[in-house]
């Protein structure tokens, strides 16, 4: 699943309905959805940020930052999920027989 793509000199993101919208229109809810996909989907792709490929400077700023964060998250996604499930893990396993 491609979450970020560069097309016709513009940066785009995938919205919840699977449509691609210009990156400067991205709202925080959209960002949260991208994070969720990055963590849950097996394969996610991002077009690498390329300053020359995006003409609009505002788009450059948003695309660059979102791309960087999502890439990092993809690399550490297991660690990220494990950390959330660390508390009471022992009890959770222990009470499994119920």
């Amino acid at each position: 699943m491609k979450l970020l793509k560069i097309d016709a000199n513009q940066g785009h993101f995938r919205d919840i309905n699977g449509k691609y919208k210009p990156i400067d229109k991205i709202a925080k809810e959209d960002l949260l959805q991208l994070v969720t996909w990055t963590l849950n989907e097996k394969e996610v792709e991002f077009d690498a940020y390329d300053e020359k490929a995006i003409k609009n400077q505002a788009q450059q700023i948003v695309y660059k930052s979102v791309d960087q964060k999502l890439q990092t998250l993809r690399g550490r996604k297991q660690e990220f999920i494990d950390e959330a499930e660390r508390s009471f893990l022992k009890e959770y396993e222990k009470y499994r027989d119920a």
């Binding site: 948003v62 979102v66 009470y95």
Partner: protein, 674 residues
């Protein structure tokens, strides 16, 4: 009766402080103390060569032995001298296993080394550090015939207690070159020839051990020269400058774990200093309660200290200002400020504390053992476990959601910052309205709590020996009072000006770096201690001394002997007779007590078990100090060098200022009576 000391050190090991062994000291000790038998018991080693030297030099039975570090404490293993070579071999194994501090043998290893321990005299420390108790003692129990204690008090206690082993009191002394005073701790055993088997048989019988040769466990020797004390109540009398206080001082250095109440130590001298000492004393004893009382406030403060209302107000102001400005500039927006994230607010990140606490509570219900039957009656444990698992899953989901939101907030911040640098438009500053309102509510509650705390009320009451200790809370009346409680040399004038508003006051205190934050909870309300007498009035100076004396005497129970020098120095006879005498008598049932007195109320009415009389005598131009002693009903008191003195005369001279004044006083009373 045979006098024995079976715990003596002659080799310095890593378990001792350094000393140089002296055979001369050992000889002097055995001779002067008239010992019939001794044992050489060094820490985890046995030196056969040295033992043979000692054996040939001493005029007493000498047993080879060793003091071994076992599981929890120390145990003496003593052999028959006829088994010397075998003992050397076995103890060498012990020395190989215990080579540094902390090394120890299990009881199983001890049995492996020595084979049948029944062939030895096995004496564990029972009421002496480090003691062997519980399971370890049970494992050893079949081999043990006596347990070592370290004071006369503990010896008598063990004799009286059917559940305790026969006690033995030994010196545990180092036979070193510069031994200043010879040890006085040893035990008498009722046996014929002192052999290992005779000792083993006799030590099993409590009726055959004693602290003194003829007086059983009623008396025990305290000084090298032979003077004894009762294991109950001793009264020490004598004219001025005959060595009464000196004798107490000596006792306090020869005996371990002594409670010594010195003369005038409780007497009111400087009112101010006394008041402080008295209050400090009472407060120290009650501080645990007060800490507990204020612990609620401490928890609230930990929370409230994180709240910065000023910063919150500023954030609100910035939010409103940037919002207005952004609205004004709406038509002037460029590509940067038009991006959706430019004005995006952060996602609120929720707390999972309540959920975590709920899971913890459910966990406690599941895991509780003590009330399991009741819990099982009402709740199905399988359902509880399913509940716990579902809550944990919810917690994980919430935590993950929070992490995701924090991540997104990070992106928003990052993007906004970059956009801000490129645009002239003002981004709307974010503010967490939920947090701001929660903080306000928190501070409101905090103010209510502190205002309630400041109301004057008694928060603690305790009755002690006819007195009542009261702790009362009330607001601080000035900066000086706060300073005194804080114990810090800083000015509280500015803080006190804000004392009326608990939050402002807290911020002022927080701005002073010399104050420890975790201690600030003590500075919100003043706790006053008052001691009230039986009529409910605050105690007078004299009563305060009485209270302290009673407290000190009660505290003596934690020691092995109580020495008290002239309690009459500041108390009236009525108090001495009704309170002090009774308490001294009671406490002497469980431990030795020595009272120095000139007062007939104490000396003659306390019901002493033993009387000691100090005397300064001139003999052939030389001053000789003597201690005469005996039971209160004895016609004569005797000194250890064979002198005797008339008891009646001594008592009247010391306690009634002589026979003639006593007679005239008696007649005077008779006359009034008639």
């Amino acid at each position: 009766m045979k006098k024995i000391d079976l715990h003596i050190h002659t080799v310095p090991t890593f378990s001792d402080s350094a000393f140089t062994f002296s055979i001369e000291t050992f000889k002097r000790y055995v001779t002067e103390a008239h010992l019939d038998a001794v044992a050489v018991t060094n820490h985890d080693v046995f030196d056969g060569k040295q033992f043979r030297l000692i054996q040939s030099a001493l005029d007493a039975v000498v047993f080879p032995g060793i003091e071994i570090n076992v599981e929890e404490g120390h145990v003496l293993v003593i052999a028959s001298a006829s088994e010397l070579e075998d003992f050397e071999v076995k103890t060498r194994l012990v020395a190989q296993k215990i080579t540094k501090l902390g090394d120890r043998l299990s009881i199983q290893e001890l049995e492996q080394v020595f084979g049948d321990l029944g062939n030895y005299l096995v004496i564990p420390h029972t009421d002496k550090a480090p003691p062997i108790t519980g399971a370890t003692l049970q494992k050893l129990r079949q081999y043990v015939c006596a347990g070592e204690v370290d004071s006369a008090k503990k010896f008598v206690r063990a004799i009286k207690d059917d559940t305790k082993l026969t006690p033995v009191l030994f010196s545990d002394a180092r036979m070193k070159t510069d031994l200043a005073t010879l040890p006085t701790r040893r035990t008498f055993v009722d046996c014929g020839d002192v052999t290992l088997s005779a000792l083993k048989a006799n030590l099993r019988d409590k009726g055959k051990v004693a602290l003194s040769e003829v007086d059983g466990n009623k008396l025990w020797q305290v000084f090298e020269s032979g003077e004894k004390l009762s294991t109950g109540l001793n009264v020490l009398i004598g004219a001025r400058s005959t060595g009464k206080t000196h004798t107490l001082d000596r006792l306090s250095t020869t005996i371990e774990n002594v409670k010594y109440i010195k003369q005038f130590s409780l007497v009111q001298q400087d009112e101010g200093a006394y008041e402080r000492a008295f209050k400090g004393d009472v407060e120290r004893r009650r501080s645990v309660f007060i800490d507990d009382f204020l612990s609620g406030l401490k928890a609230v403060l930990d929370d409230v200290m994180k709240v910065d209302l000023v910063a919150n107000d500023k954030a609100m102001e910035r939010y409103v200002a940037t919002l207005v400005k952004s609205a004004e500039e709406a038509d002037r927006r460029d590509a940067f400020s038009k991006t959706a994230l430019f004005d995006a607010e952060n996602f609120p990140v929720g707390q999972t504390k309540v959920l975590q606490e709920l899971i913890e509570s459910v966990r406690q219900v599941i895991e509780n053992v003590e009330f399991k039957a009741i819990i099982d009656k009402h709740l199905d444990s399988r359902s509880l476990k399913r509940l716990a698992r579902e809550l944990i899953e919810l917690l994980w989901a919430r935590t993950l959601e929070n992490s995701k939101r924090s991540l997104v907030n990070g992106v928003i911040k990052d993007v906004k910052q970059s956009l801000k640098m490129r645009t002239a438009a003002v981004p709307v500053e974010d503010v967490d309205l939920y947090k701001v309102s929660m903080d306000k509510k928190r501070i409101q509650r905090f103010r209510e709590i502190v205002d309630f705390l400041k109301r004057k009320a008694v928060v603690f009451q305790e009755s002690i020996q006819g007195f009542r200790v009261e702790a009362e809370k009330e607001p601080f009346a000035g900066a000086g009072e706060i300073k005194e409680v804080s114990g810090v040399k800083t000015s509280f004038a500015a803080a006190f000006r804000k004392y009326g508003d608990p939050y402002d006051y807290l911020r002022e205190l927080m701005s002073d770096e010399s104050l420890t934050r975790s201690e600030l909870y003590k500075l919100f309300v003043k706790i006053n201690y008052r001691i009230l007498n039986k009529d409910g009035f605050e105690v007078s100076g004299g009563e305060r001394s009485e209270f302290r004396l009673l407290q000190e005497i009660a505290d003596a129970q934690n020691y092995d002997i109580l020495l008290i020098d002239e309690p009459e120095s500041s108390f009236d006879n009525l108090f001495l007779n009704s309170n002090v005498n009774q308490i001294l008598k009671d406490i002497s049932e469980v431990m030795p007590v020595v009272v120095v007195t000139h007062n007939n109320t104490v000396g003659a009415s306390v019901g002493a078990d033993y009387v000691l009389y100090t005397s300064k005598e001139l003999e052939q131009g030389k001053t000789v100090y003597r201690i005469y002693s005996g039971h209160p009903t004895d016609k004569q008191l005797l000194s250890t060098d064979g002198k005797a003195i008339n008891s009646h005369e001594v008592m009247l001279n010391s306690l009634e200022a002589g026979v003639a004044p006593y007679e005239s006083r008696r007649k005077g009373y008779e006359a009034i009576k008639n």
